[in-house]
């Protein structure tokens, strides 16, 4: 029998809360502290904790490395994509005001999308770096 039952049980209970906290930090960043960068790091920390307790292979099933490697450029693509869409709609690059019928909503959508891009890149990068370094010693 494994002796780290407490760690495993606690981690299983904590995981959804960590993920919800990451999402809270992400979407509540407009009102309180936080944003894409912090949320991405928290989400990556969840995967890293999982890897420390359940092992690297289990963590790789939880977050497939292929997907993470795709996330790294995807976030930057979303960010620049928002900028280019702004240009196509007649504004300046990253001028979100043109994204919706009035400029205030446009700004809100723009910030939301851009923060999502940051989240995706940061979470993907941090987890990928951890997987690579942790997987190298074996």
């Amino acid at each position: 029998m494994r002796l780290d039952v407490i760690f495993r049980a606690t981690m299983k209970i904590m995981m959804p809360f960590i993920l919800v906290f990451a999402l809270y930090v992400q979407f509540h960043g407009d009102f309180g502290p936080g944003g894409g960068f912090q949320a991405g790091v928290i989400a990556a920390a969840m995967v890293i904790l999982y890897a420390i307790i359940f092992g690297l292979d289990a963590a790789k099933r939880l977050a497939p490395p292929r997907l993470l490697e795709l996330m790294i450029p995807l976030g930057v693509l979303i960010y620049t994509g928002v900028g280019v869409i702004c240009m196509m709609l007649g504004g300046n690059f990253l001028d979100y005001s043109v994204l919706a019928h009035d400029s205030m909503h446009g700004q809100e959508y723009g910030i939301l999308l851009v923060e999502a891009g940051v989240l995706i890149t940061v979470a993907g990068t941090m987890t990928t770096i951890f997987f690579l370094i942790a997987g190298r010693g074996r």
Binding site: V25, G29, D30, F31, G32, P33, G34, G35, F37, Q38, V41, I42, A44, A45, I48, E69, I72, P73, G75, V76, Y79, T80, G83, L94, Y96, S103, M104, H105, Q107, E108, G110, I111, V114, E115, G117, V118, T121, V122, G124, T125, M126, T128, I129, F130, L132, I133, A134, G135, R136, G137
Partner: protein, 180 residues
């Protein structure tokens, strides 16, 4: 003040210790103290980043790297006098520069009179985002944040390139031998 004193003590500890494991852990503690300082300065966003990145992720990555290398710092093999001299001169220059800084927290400091009032006055009107840090970061200074995201992207790609193709060197010569 207490926090800064603790940080100074930890810095001395980091310099003195040869065991890299202890140094990494002390680095994490240093980051946590830095995050506390940021909270004292009312910069919660920065504190959050410092706590999660500085104390969390980078400590884990450092420990992962330590696992692959030695945990004892090797002897530098040269006299510490020249680096010490450079550090002292640099610190002297920096301390000399702080004399010219305006007093901390004064309302009419240059940093508070340039673009900051513009952001604070119009952020709600223009972006409808109550947290000015977010609106500055994502909207007013969107280019900078794009650059930061690109930096993270570059870091990820660089690590992927360096570490992904592991153990490709070992089978290489064998295959050649077989072909011969």
């Amino acid at each position: 003040m207490v926090l800064l004193t603790l940080m100074a003590i930890i810095t001395i500890g980091i310099v003195r210790l040869r065991n890299l494991f202890a140094v990494v852990i002390l680095g994490g503690i240093y980051s946590f103290l830095m995050a506390s300082v940021m909270i004292v300065l009312d910069a919660v966003d920065v504190a959050m980043t410092e706590a999660s990145v500085g104390a969390g992720i980078s400590t884990v990555l450092m420990l992962g790297t330590l696992y692959l290398t030695k945990t004892e710092e090797s002897d530098p093999g040269h006299s510490p006098l020249l680096p010490l001299f450079v550090a002292v001169v640099m610190a002297g220059v920096l301390v000399y520069a702080t004399i010219d800084l305006p007093p901390f927290g004064l309302a009419d400091n240059p940093v508070h009179t340039h673009v900051a009032p513009r952001y604070l006055d119009y952020s709600i009107e223009e972006t409808n985002v109550p947290n000015v840090v977010t609106s500055v970061l994502a909207s007013y200074r969107g280019y900078d944040t794009l650059g930061e995201t690109a930096v993270i992207f570059t870091a990820g790609i660089a690590v992927l390139l360096l570490l992904k193709g592991r153990r490709k060197m070992k089978p290489g010569p064998k295959r050649k031998r077989i072909r011969r």
